[in-house]
């Protein structure tokens, strides 16, 4: 036993301590427990991984039976690790630790009682860590689902952290409900898996999946995988369920970095990669995954180009990058997907944290149009953001370049069309990320606040992440993952590499042209392509469409048809109708029972006489 349970247990402990007693703690104590617990967890991960290596197969620890019913169903509270898990664990705890540290600085000056809910923030964050680690460590689908739902919950709580703001709580609910729709698919997938395999343990399921030589069960597996993909789409913000993620930026920036960029949203990718043995038997499902990923990547990228809120830009960028990861999974390059998960975690966390630093410096300003020229005022932030932007644009040998390259190569191997679309998307990505960078740091300052550089607790994590963004690609994840996920498709073609790098550079150049060299150009384009621009600026009116097609009809229908119509009208109508009829009949009969006792007596007497008469006539008197 390697006491895997301690990994999630530390953050849980932190959550409990801060959650219950945090109100009475000083900020320092809260920070100590919060950061300490995650750090401990990180250290325990490192220690455990080193102890268990080489991790080529799933190492499982059974703690207790969680749910059992008869002999058929027995789901344990089991944790397991393998190489796939190890990557995720390191990313989650590592990035998590950094972001925790960052957050102690970022959240230090919140207004409101109890330091603006400082303890509450950190307890939520710790709880998130707990669930995320459960998700990653789970040895069966149901436990994975626990983490899955749990991180969704924490996401909900943290998005709605500023609960006084209506938009924040709305965004929280939106996130939770959209996730629920994904979970709907996931849970159905779980039911199918159980029906098919009689178990939910990864080991047993995958073992049987490998043995399914015939095509008899293919339909089931395809259905299962598609349902799993629904779940993944919900959690990882894929089309058509991506709508919650941009709204989720209502949460504090460290949350955006940790949950909505680095870790939680990649859970879908992790889940698909984890289910690779199943997906491998469902080519149709894989095709669907790839298409959805690509579609998401393109769509989010286009929207990202028009957004003015710095966090929104990065949010769409996240959606887009997640699309890439699914593309990777869809084409069978799971390890590339996970590779990108990791590098994306580095640079996207950095982007968000940097954005947070900017916002922090500008006292809450998020609109790019009110920034500019901050290069000299907050140089450390600028430098780190520059690193991140280079990475995401795919500048050679940065981490982003390495992983995106893997994906594009794999896509090309699968279908050249996908490759080309991917390349265009990469170009767009470079464009909007650099657009944000230029708008923020170059030109003339357009705001009114007094920018100042952030303290060391903020800049230190930025520095670490900047380093990782540039050099993180040298952790050769696909190689490490080979025993678990198989070899990625070969075919390393230098031409493809050059094309993708060029695409990135073109994007950067265009951004420079539009926003530094000729600042009037964007408006010209916007006016020229007014219809298209409006469509994209308004995110293709997807939210509005959902609202009009689904939400309103359901709510109004529930109110008017179901409640007022059926409940009150039909059922109660019938019941009350029966009541009225009884009353009516009673009203006629009641004249007989007017409450005058003497009338009763007279009638009784009459009855007695009649009985006597009857007896007399029938001869009773003889």
């Amino acid at each position: 036993m390697h006491q895997l349970w301690l990994i999630p247990a530390f953050p849980l402990l932190g959550f409990l301590i801060n959650g219950i007693f945090g109100k009475k703690f000083s900020k320092r104590a809260v920070s100590l427990f919060a950061v300490g617990s995650v750090l401990l967890s990180f250290l325990w991960v490192v220690k455990t991984l080193m102890a268990i290596s080489p991790l080529e197969t799933l190492y499982t620890e059974h703690y207790f039976t969680w749910i059992a019913s008869g002999a058929a169903l027995n789901i344990g509270f089991d944790l397991s690790v393998d190489r796939l898990t190890s990557v995720m664990l390191l990313v989650v705890t590592g990035i998590g630790s950094l972001i925790h540290i960052y957050a102690t600085g970022y959240m230090a000056h919140e207004p409101g009682p109890n330091h603006g809910g400082y303890y509450r923030f950190f307890s939520y964050l710790n709880l998130f860590m707990f669930f995320m680690l459960i998700l990653v460590l789970a040895a069966n689908y149901l436990l994975l689902f626990v983490g899955w739902e749990g991180v969704g919950l924490c996401s909900y709580l943290l998005i709605g952290f500023y609960f006084v703001k209506k938009s924040a709580t709305n965004a929280g609910i939106k996130a939770f409900v959209v996730n629920r729709i994904g979970d709907f698919g996931f849970s159905l997938a779980i039911f199918l898996i159980f029906i098919q395999f009689g178990s939910l343990d990864f080991q047993k399921v995958f073992a049987q999946a490998g043995g399914l030589a015939d095509e008899v069960q293919a339909g089931v597996i395809t259905a299962t995988c598609l349902l799993l993909m629904v779940g993944a789409a919900g959690k990882s913000a894929q089309v058509p369920l991506y709508v919650w993620l941009p709204d989720a930026m209502e949460g504090p920036t460290p949350v955006s970095a940790l949950i909505h960029a680095a870790t939680m949203v990649t859970a879908g990718v992790y889940m698909v990669a984890r289910s690779a043995p199943l997906f491998n038997h469902a080519p149709i499902a894989m095709e669907v995954v790839a298409v959805i990923g690509l579609l998401t990547a393109v769509m989010a990228a286009t929207i990202g180009m028009t957004q003015n809120d710095i966090k929104k830009v990065y949010a769409y960028s996240t959606v887009s990058q997640l699309g890439y990861m699914f593309l990777a999974c869809g084409v069978g390059a799971y390890s590339a997907g996970i590779y990108h998960v990791m590098t994306h975690a580095f640079f996207k966390a950095l982007l968000f944290l940097g954005a947070g630093s900017v916002i922090h410096a500008l006292q809450g300003e998020q609109d790019l149009r009110n920034m500019g020229g901050l290069r000299s005022k907050i140089p450390v932030t600028f430098l780190t953001l520059l690193c991140a932007s280079l990475a995401i644009a795919g500048f050679p040998y940065t981490s982003g370049f390495m992983s995106k390259d893997e994906i594009l190569v794999a896509a090309h191997h699968h279908s050249p069309a996908m490759f080309w679309i991917g390349v265009i998307t990469a170009s767009m990505t470079a464009f909007y990320v650099w657009r944000a960078l230029f708008l923020c740091f170059f030109g003339r300052y357009r705001g009114s606040a007094h920018p100042h550089e952030s303290p060391l607790v903020i800049t230190l994590p930025l520095g670490v992440l900047a380093l990782l963004s540039i050099l993180g690609g040298f952790f050769r994840v696909p190689v490490w993952l080979e025993p678990v996920l198989g070899k990625a498709p070969e075919g390393h073609d230098p031409a493809l590499v050059i094309i993708s790098v060029a695409a990135g550079l073109i994007g950067i150049f265009l951004a420079w042209l539009f926003y530094v060299a000729k600042p009037g150009l964007p408006d010209t384009f916007a006016r020229a392509l007014k219809g298209l621009y409006t469509l994209v600026y308004n995110k293709y009116f997807v939210d509005e469409a959902y609202d009009a097609v689904i939400i309103r009809p359901v709510v109004d229908g529930s109110r008017t048809v179901l409640w007022k119509g059926f409940d009150v009208g039909v059922v109660d109508g019938i019941v009350n109708g029966v009541g009225s009829v009884s009353r009516g009949v009673g009203g006629i009969l009641r004249t007989l029972q007017g409450g005058s006792i003497r009338n009763y007596a007279a009638l009784t007497l009459l009855g007695a006489v009649l009985v006597l008469a009857a007896v007399a006539f029938t001869g009773g008197a003889q």
């Binding site: 009338n599 007596a601 007279a602 007497l605 006489v609 006597l612 007399a616 008197a621 003889q622």
Partner: protein
């Protein structure tokens, strides 16, 4: 000396008193008159019981009925200072239907009694001595012990109920 049909005379006299009192009960408008008439009925009935050999029942009739229950009635009448009924303003259903039906009932009852009861049998004073206190007591405390105890509980409940009802404050 020709034997005087003392039993018959007594019966007729008492029956006359009883029926007369009963009629008086019905026709009087003032409750106190009715109450006293009822006492009259009861006492004459008590004597009739005596003739029928019910010594104990006769005494109890006077003590309980005339002496306790009717006193209670008189009390309530006095307490409420109940006046005479107001004259009837309209003929109610019960009156209209009641009187003919009553007559029908009485004739039906009489018809049955005369049909079913053999006229030969007669009542003479001393013809039955099973109604002495001793006989009644023995029956009450052996065969009828349970009903007897039950009625005593009934009485207890009635007393408590009456007290609770009557003690209710007017507010």
């Amino acid at each position: 000396m020709p034997s005087i049909p003392l039993d018959a005379i007594l019966f007729l006299v008492l029956a006359a008193i009883a029926v007369g009192s009963a009629i008086n009960l019905v026709v009087q408008t003032h409750p106190i008159n009715s109450a006293l008439s009822l006492v009259g009925v009861m006492i004459s009935l008590a004597v009739l019981y005596l003739l029928l050999g019910g010594e104990f029942i006769a005494a109890v009739q006077v003590i309980v009925y005339a002496g306790a229950i009717m006193v209670l009635f008189v009390f309530v009448i006095m307490l409420l200072n109940a006046g005479a009924e107001r004259p009837r303003t309209r003929l109610s259903f019960s009156v209209a239907a009641g009187v003919p039906v009553l007559l029908a009932f009485l004739s039906a009852a009489a018809y049955f009694i005369l049909k079913k009861v053999p006229p030969a049998e007669g009542v003479t004073f001393g013809g039955f001595t099973g109604g002495s206190p001793r006989a009644v007591g023995e029956a009450l405390f052996t065969r009828y012990l349970l009903p007897f105890e039950v009625t005593s509980i009934l009485i207890l409940i009635a007393i408590i109920g009456a007290i609770v009802l009557a003690m209710k404050e007017i507010d």
